[in-house]
C-alpha cells in the first residue's frame, strides 16, 4: 500500500537568507515528488534576516502552504547539528489535517489566556476531525512558559499530547523568533493541532542524574523558587559550589546548564529538570518552568554517556508506535544545554537517534531554550509539561492499514 503522506527535508547554510531558504525548501520539495506541501516547518539560526528567509520558503512552495517554525541556537538534520543554517520540513498529506493557531504579544499578565486562545484558534481551524497531537513553538524568552502550556491544556485537556519547544537565539537571550506563514514574530506562540489518519509517536528523556540529598521547596511562586527548607533558594547553589551570591550570579549560566534542579516525580523514570535563568533580590531562583511548592528537588548532574543513553531511549519511545508501519519523518527538539554538554561530540547524539529511527527517515530539529512534551506515567496521565535539558523526538507516519 502506498502512503499518501510524503515528508521531505532540506538544509542550507547559504550566506544569503533568501537563497538559503530557497535551497533548503527546494531540497525538501524534491523529496515529496515536487508536490505543494500542506505544511512546512522551518527552523533557523538567528544569523539570517528572518523575513528574507520566509520569502525564500514561499518562493519555492507558493501561497498554499502553511508555514510554522521558530529560531534556535542551532538546527539539525540527518547530517548533524549546525550552528549556522536553516532546515525545512515539507509535509504533503491527504490524510493528515491541520488546524493552525497563532497568538501574539504575550506578556506576564496574559500568558495563560494566550495559551487558551492559541488552543481555541487551532481547534476552530481544524474542524470536526479527531485530534491527535498539538505541535507548538513559543518564544523562549517568555517568563512563564509553564503557564502558557497550562493555558493550552485548559482547552485541549490535561492528557492531550502537546509537543514543541521554546525558540532560542545564539545564547544572547535578546530576541528569538517564531514563524507563522509569512510573519516573523516575537513573544508569540504558533503551532498546529494535527488530526486525521496520521500516526504520531513521541519520546522525551534527558539522562541527568540526581546528586546529594533531596530538599523540599517550602515556598514558590510559579517559576520562582523562593525558599528551600525555609532558607533562601540560592543557598542550595551556595552550599554545593562553595561560592558567594555574586560568584553564583557570575557562574549561573554555566552552573544552570550543567547542574540544573530536578523535581522529583513519583512513578516517572526521570526528574523534571529546571534551568535557573536568574536570581532575584531575595535570593530566589527564577526558573524557565514552574516549580510547585512542596515539591522535592535535587541538584542534577549530566554526563555525555547518560545523555547519549537518554537520546537512545527517547528515540526508542518515539519509534515504539511504528512497529508495523514506516516512520515518514521526525522532528527533534534538542535543548541548548545538551549542545554545551556534548561539545564537539554533539553529532553522536544525532547519529544515535538516526540509528534508532532508521537511516532513511528524514528529520529536522532545532536547539531550544525549553521543550514541551507529555510525561508517560499513569500518575501524570500523559500530561504535557515544560522541560529543560531534554531531547524530545516526534515521529510522524500514517496509521497501519490506511492509504
Amino acid at each position: 500500500m502506498n502512503p499518501t503522506t510524503y515528508i521531505g527535508t532540506g538544509f542550507s547554510a547559504h550566506k544569503n537568507p533568501f537563497e538559503a531558504a530557497k535551497e533548503a525548501s527546494s531540497r525538501a520539495k524534491r523529496q515529496i515528488r515536487a508536490k505543494t506541501p500542506n505544511l512546512a516547518i522551518v527552523f533557523s539560526t538567528t544569523h539570517f534576516s528572518q523575513h528574507s528567509l520566509l520569502e525564500g520558503v514561499y518562493f519555492v512552495f507558493g501561497d498554499n502552504t502553511n508555514v510554522i517554525g521558530c529560531s534556535g541556537y542551532g538546527v539539525i538534520d540527518n547530517s548533524g547539528v549546525h550552528k549556522y543554517g536553516v532546515v525545512v520540513m515539507a509535509i504533503y498529506s491527504t490524510k493528515i489535517k491541520s488546524g493552525f493557531g497563532c497568538i501574539k504579544e504575550i506578556n506576564a499578565d496574559n500568558t495563560r489566556w494566550a495559551g487558551e486562545k492559541f488552543a481555541r484558534a487551532s481547534l476552530k481551524n481544524l474542524g470536526s476531525t479527531t485530534r491527535e497531537i498539538a505541535l507548538s513553538f513559543c518564544d523562549g524568552l517568555l517568563e512563564k512558559n509553564s503557564e502558557l502550556l497550562s493555558g493550552v491544556k485548559d482547552v485541549l485537556g490535561r492528557s492531550f499530547p502537546i509537543i514543541g519547544c521554546s525558540s532560542a537565539d545564539s545564547l544572547l537571550f535578546s530576541k528569538t523568533y517564531q514563524y507563522f506563514n509569512k510573519e516573523v514574530l516575537n513573544k508569540s506562540i504558533v503551532g498546529t493541532i494535527l488530526s486525521g489518519e496520521g500516526s504520531f509517536g513521541y519520546g522525551l528523556k534527558h539522562g541527568w542524574q540526581p546528586l546529594g540529598r533531596p530538599r523540599r521547596v517550602t515556598y514558590s511562586e510559579g517559576n520562582i523558587i523562593k525558599r528551600i527548607e525555609e532558607n533562601p533558594a540560592i543557598e542550595i547553589y551556595k552550599d554545593y559550589f562553595k561560592k558567594n551570591t555574586e560568584e553564583i550570579k557570575d557562574l549561573l549560566n554555566q552552573i544552570s546548564i550543567l547542574y540544573p534542579l530536578g523535581i522529583y516525580l513519583s512513578e516517572e523514570e526521570e526528574y523534571l529538570l529546571r534551568n535557573v535563568i536568574k536570581i532575584d533580590n531575595d535570593g530566589g531562583l527564577i526558573c524557565q518552568g514552574d516549580v510547585p511548592q512542596g515539591s522535592q528537588i535535587r541538584i542534577m548532574m549530566g554526563t555525555k554517556e547518560s545523555a547519549l543513553e537518554a537520546a537512545k531511549l527517547a528515540a526508542q519511545e518515539a519509534k515504539y508506535k511504528f512497529n508495523d508501519t514506516a516512520i515518514l519523518g521526525a522532528i527533534i527538539f534538542e535543548s541548548v544545554s545538551r549542545i554545551k554538554l556534548f561539545g564537539y561530540r554533539i553529532n553522536e547524539e544525532v547519529e544515535t537517534v538516526k540509528n534508532i529511527l532508521g537511516e532513511t527517515v528524514p528529520f529536522i530539529g532545532v536547539c531550544t531554550f525549553g521543550e514541551q512534551a507529555p510525561l508517560k506515567s499513569l500518575e501524570y496521565r500523559g500530561e504535557s509539561h515544560f522541560h529543560n535539558e531534554t531531547i524530545a523526538v516526534l515521529t510522524i507516519g500514517e496509521r497501519h492499514g490506511l492509504a
Binding site: K83, Y84, F173, L211, R213, D239, G343
Partner: protein, 513 residues
C-alpha cells in the same frame, strides 16, 4: 444471672476490691511499663536510625559537593578541549577553503559567517594597516571582512580611543590581544565591551613577509561563550593563515604579472617574426616571378643562338675554318649550360610558388634506378666508378612524380659522379622507415667540410674546392632536389666526411595523401 444481680458492690469494702483488682493493676502497670520501655527503646532505635540516615544523607551530600567540585573542574577542562577540537576542525575547513583561491579579495569572501559561528564568535572584522596607519581610522581604513557588523556599527564600535589603542598595540607588538588579558586596564576594557556591545574579544595581527598588514578582530556577544587562552591561539592561527593566503596571492599576482609580460613579449616577437616572414615570402615570390620572367625572356634568344650555332656547325651555310668550329662548339656547350641553368631556375621558382603539381603515381623504384643508371652509364664507365643499388624487399612501388623523382636521382648521382674520384663507389639504398621510404645515395667522394654542410642546399652555393674550380656547375642542382623532396612532403639531409665520402638521404612518404 440471678447470682449476678444478687451481687452488689456495697457488699465489698475498698480493701476487698483492692485485694482482688490490685494484682491485676500491678500487672497492667508492669505491662505498661514494659511496653513503654520497649517503645522508648524502639524510639531510641528509630532516632538512632534517623540520625544515621541523616548522617548518611549528609555524607552523601558532602560527597555530592565533592563530585560537583571535581566535575566542574573536569567540565571546564573538557569544554576547553572540546572547543579546541571543534575550532581546529573549523580552522581546517577555512584553510581548505582559502587554499582554493589566489585572489586577494576572494580570500576574505571565502571566510563566512558560518565559519566564525563555528569558531564560537558572533562578529568578525578584518582591516588593513600600513606604515602610516597603525589603527582603525573612520573613513580611511580599508575594511576587508565584516561579519555581524554594519557600517554604522563599525564606526560606533571602533572609533573609541581604548579599542584603537588595542589595535595599535597589536600592530606595534605583533601580539594577539584579548579581553582576558590581565594587562588591559579593567576600566578601559569595560568601556570597550560596553561601547562595542560585546562580552569578549580577540585581536590578532595579520602578517605577510614579516610585516604586519592587517588586523583580525573577533568578538562574542554572549556571556555563555566566554573566551579562553585556547581561543586566542586559534584566532592567532587563523590570522597567520589569512596572512599566508595573502602572501600566496601576492606571489601568484607577481608571477602572473611577469608571466603576462613574458607572454606579451613573445606575442610581440611572434608578430614581428610573422611580419618578417610575410615580407620574406613576398620577396621570394617577387624573386620567383622575376626569375621566371627573366628566364622566359632569356630562353627564347638562347634557343635562337643555339639554333644558329648548330646550323653554322653543320656547314650548310659554308665550310667553316677549324678555329671557328671550335668556337662554335664552345658556344653550343655554354648555351647548353645556360639553358640547363635557366631550366633549373624556372623549375625552382615554379615549385617554390606552388605552380608545379606533383603527379603522384606508384613507381617501380628498381626500374627507375635502372633507367637513371642507363642515362648516366657513360660517365660511370668513364670514371670507372662502381654503381650498386639495394632496394629492400618489402618495397615494391613508391608513390611519387616519376619525372621529378628521376630528376632527384639524376642530380644526386651526377653530383656524386662529379665529386667521386675514379675507381670509387656510388651506392643507392632504399628501406622503409616510419611511414616513409628512406633512400640513401652514398659515394666515396671528396666529402664536404662540416662547416659547409648546412649551406649545401642553398641556391647558387658551390663549395670552394678543386673539383668545383675545374668543373663548372650552376649551384642549383641540390636546391632543386630539396624543393622536389619537400614538394613530396619528404625530408632531405646529408652526412659527410672529408676525403671519405658523402651520403645524401631523403624520405618520401608511403601514403599518397
Amino acid at each position: 444471672m440471678a447470682w449476678l444481680n444478687s451481687l452488689s458492690l456495697q457488699q465489698f469494702s475498698f480493701e476487698d476490691i483492692l485485694y482482688v483488682v490490685g494484682p491485676s493493676i500491678i500487672v497492667i502497670v508492669l505491662i505498661l511499663n514494659i511496653i513503654s520501655l520497649l517503645k522508648d527503646r524502639r524510639i531510641n532505635k528509630l532516632r538512632r536510625s534517623l540520625e544515621e540516615l541523616q548522617k548518611t544523607y549528609e555524607a552523601l551530600d558532602n560527597q555530592a559537593k565533592l563530585i560537583i567540585k571535581t566535575d566542574l573542574e573536569l567540565h571546564k577542562t573538557q569544554s576547553e578541549l572540546d572547543k579546541k577540537i571543534s575550532s581546529l576542525y573549523t580552522l581546517q575547513k577555512i584553510s581548505h577553503t582559502l587554499s582554493t583561491t589566489l585572489d586577494e579579495n576572494e580570500i576574505f569572501q571565502k571566510i563566512s559567517e558560518e565559519h566564525i559561528t563555528e569558531l564560537g564568535f558572533d562578529k568578525a572584522l578584518v582591516f588593513l594597516v600600513g606604515p602610516t596607519q597603525t589603527t582603525y581610522s573612520p573613513g580611511t581604513t580599508a575594511i576587508k571582512l565584516r561579519i555581524g557588523y554594519n557600517e554604522k556599527d563599525i564606526e560606533a564600535a571602533f572609533s573609541q580611543e581604548y579599542i584603537k589603542d588595542i589595535f595599535e598595540q597589536a600592530v606595534k607588538k605583533g601580539a594577539t590581544l584579548s579581553s582576558i588579558d590581565t594587562k588591559i586596564n579593567p576600566k578601559h576594557l569595560n568601556a570597550i565591551l560596553k561601547s562595542s556591545k560585546i562580552q569578549s574579544f580577540i585581536c590578532a595581527p595579520i602578517t605577510t613577509k614579516g610585516a604586519i598588514v592587517g588586523i583580525l578582530f573577533v568578538a562574542s556577544e554572549s556571556s555563555y561563550s566566554p573566551i579562553t587562552t585556547g581561543d586566542k591561539e586559534i584566532v592567532s592561527i587563523l590570522a597567520t593563515q589569512i596572512g599566508q593566503s595573502l602572501e600566496n596571492a601576492q606571489l601568484f599576482e607577481e608571477t602572473w604579472r611577469s608571466h603576462q609580460e613574458l607572454e606579451n613579449k613573445v606575442t610581440q616577437r611572434t608578430r614581428e617574426l610573422s611580419a618578417a616572414l610575410e615580407e620574406v615570402k613576398a620577396v621570394t615570390k617577387r624573386k620567383s616571378e622575376f626569375v621566371s620572367a627573366v628566364s622566359h625572356e632569356l630562353r627564347t634568344p638562347l634557343t635562337s643562338i643555339k639554333g644558329y650555332a648548330s646550323l653554322l656547325s653543320t656547314g650548310k651555310l659554308g665550310e667553316l675554318p677549324q678555329p671557328v668550329k671550335e668556337r662554335l662548339e664552345k658556344i653550343n656547350k655554354h648555351t647548353d649550360s645556360l639553358s640547363q641553368l635557366i631550366n633549373n631556375m624556372l623549375d625552382i621558382s615554379r615549385i617554390e610558388s606552388g605552380r608545379v603539381e606533383m603527379k603522384i603515381e606508384d613507381i617501380d623504384l628498381r626500374k627507375l634506378l635502372e633507367t637513371v643508371f642507363d642515362l648516366l652509364a657513360p660517365q660511370f664507365k668513364e670514371k670507372q666508378i662502381n654503381f650498386s643499388q639495394e632496394v629492400a624487399k618489402d618495397i615494391s612501388t613508391l608513390p611519387a612524380d616519376i619525372n621529378q623523382l628521376q630528376r632527384i636521382f639524376i642530380n644526386l648521382l651526377s653530383n656524386s659522379l662529379k665529386f667521386t674520384p675514379p675507381d670509387g663507389k656510388i651506392a643507392v639504398r632504399a628501406k622503409k622507415t616510419d611511414g616513409a621510404v628512406q633512400i640513401d645515395v652514398e659515394d666515396t667522394g671528396v666529402g664536404i667540410a662540416e662547416k659547409n654542410l648546412d649551406k649545401i642546399f642553398g641556391e647558387f652555393y658551390r663549395e670552394d674546392n678543386e673539383i668545383n674550380q675545374s668543373v663548372k656547375g650552376t649551384g642549383l642542382g641540390l636546391s632543386l632536389v630539396k624543393y622536389i623532396v619537400e614538394a613530396h612532403k619528404g625530408k632531405i639531409w646529408l652526412t659527410s666526411k672529408l676525403n671519405k665520402g658523402t651520403t645524401f638521404s631523403f624520405t618520401l612518404p608511403i601514403s599518397k595523401a
